[in-house]
Symmetry: none
Subunit: 144 residues, 4 copies
């Protein structure tokens, strides 16, 4: 597995935040987990809701937990809600099955982590996550 | 952030109860949490259901956790039920996504807490919460 | 069972707070539950820790859950820690087995609720709870 | 209450990491929460254990939850283990009661957040947290 270094994680977070600022998104929270589902970095902007970090974490962790992007998790939720309910329990309630959770893949397509962003619309959250991942030289897998 | 003092909290609770009595609502439970999501005051009237305090708490806490009023949480629940299910888990099941949870905002619009009321219809619960918040000189944000 | 009315609960809380102020205790949180373990009233003073309400609740609820005062729960904890660990699980982690949780008994000795106070030393928390219960005309059972 | 801005949080994290590098500590995880107990920033270095973020988070969150530094939580754990077990439950198992959790206080002494660091010895973790807090112009309260 390609190691996801903290240096790369910092680039992802910085570029995602820069994208959000450029597009004048609402203040966001950004979480990056590695292939083990371990948090490597979290940044939560000023004037955000109490649970912003947890919501963003549930997007990132949920994607790595199941191995698919957040858009696919949302599709599961609509088509087979009982499956997503089960996954919620299996992840100990650390699952936010909506867009804005994006897998990080290396050049060979291997899963090396995920980004979760929350604060603006789910679609915009996802755009910022993709921008961060691509700026760091990786491939973004939104689950679309 | 404006501190929500106990003195203000007492005014909110007293005035919400006074409104409910004036309108002959069924007996209610009232919970006020501050911007940290910490309970500052709870009052549950006689002859109420076993879980009245928890239901009211889930309204107040859920609003602060997500940063929106209960009416918006109910909208989320109808439009994206999987998102509200996820929020239920992320709040450790302390979420009641229906009207009657109302954000308390100060003069600048900053979020300083929330009121949750349960016992009568959700619409009436909300009216009592708004009455209490406004009587204390704050702005009520129902999420409408 | 004697009903524990909200009127009595208010007297207990007011007198417990008055006692704490008279003795210059640190700011406290006070929770009263009835014989069902249902919260009837909570008041948390200004400048208290994030979890003050939960700690006080765990004292009150734990006493009613097991039917003994907090001082007895602490004795259990010292003599049979595995039993208190089990009770923690059985109460869904709503147990604070230290002094400051005091049973409310009516004239016939029947259990009608409990008070939990947290904020100063456990011994002082207990004194305030006893003062409130006795001022309302009930008997305080500390588990001593 | 003084707001803990992300700008200040970044300074705390950067300076804590710089201190750890200067002293050749093992790789660490750093978490900063605000007065609400909400995560504002997490950074976990390369080559750290799977649960490094959670351990550091439990130090920071636990301190804010109870309102004391990690060294005091450890004292509680030694003198009254049942109380710390209870706090573990009340925090939904988000409590690491050892040194390395340090309260952030503003000039007036008000609690505005906490830092949790894990990775080297608890004593060294604490030194890095203090270095970060003081470099940002705040007072560090270790609970000693």
């Amino acid at each position: 597995m390609t190691n996801l270094t903290l240096a790369s994680v910092r680039t992802i977070v910085d570029k995602a935040l820069a994208y959000a600022h450029e597009k004048s998104f609402k203040p966001i929270g950004v979480v990056v987990v590695d292939a083990r589902g371990a948090v490597r970095m979290t940044v939560v902007e000023d004037n955000t809701a109490l649970l912003r970090a947890e919501i963003a974490h549930g997007k990132a962790y949920g994607c790595v937990a199941v191995g698919v992007g957040g858009r696919m998790l949302q599709k599961f939720a609509v088509e087979r809600p009982h499956f997503i309910t089960a996954l919620g329990g299996l992840t100990h309630d650390r699952l936010t099955p909506v867009p804005g959770g994006v897998l990080i893949r290396d050049g060979s397509g291997a899963l090396i982590g995920a980004v979760g962003i929350s604060g603006d619309t789910s679609d915009n959250d996802e755009l910022a996550a993709v921008a961060g991942i691509e700026a760091a030289g990786f491939k973004a897998d939104t689950g679309a």
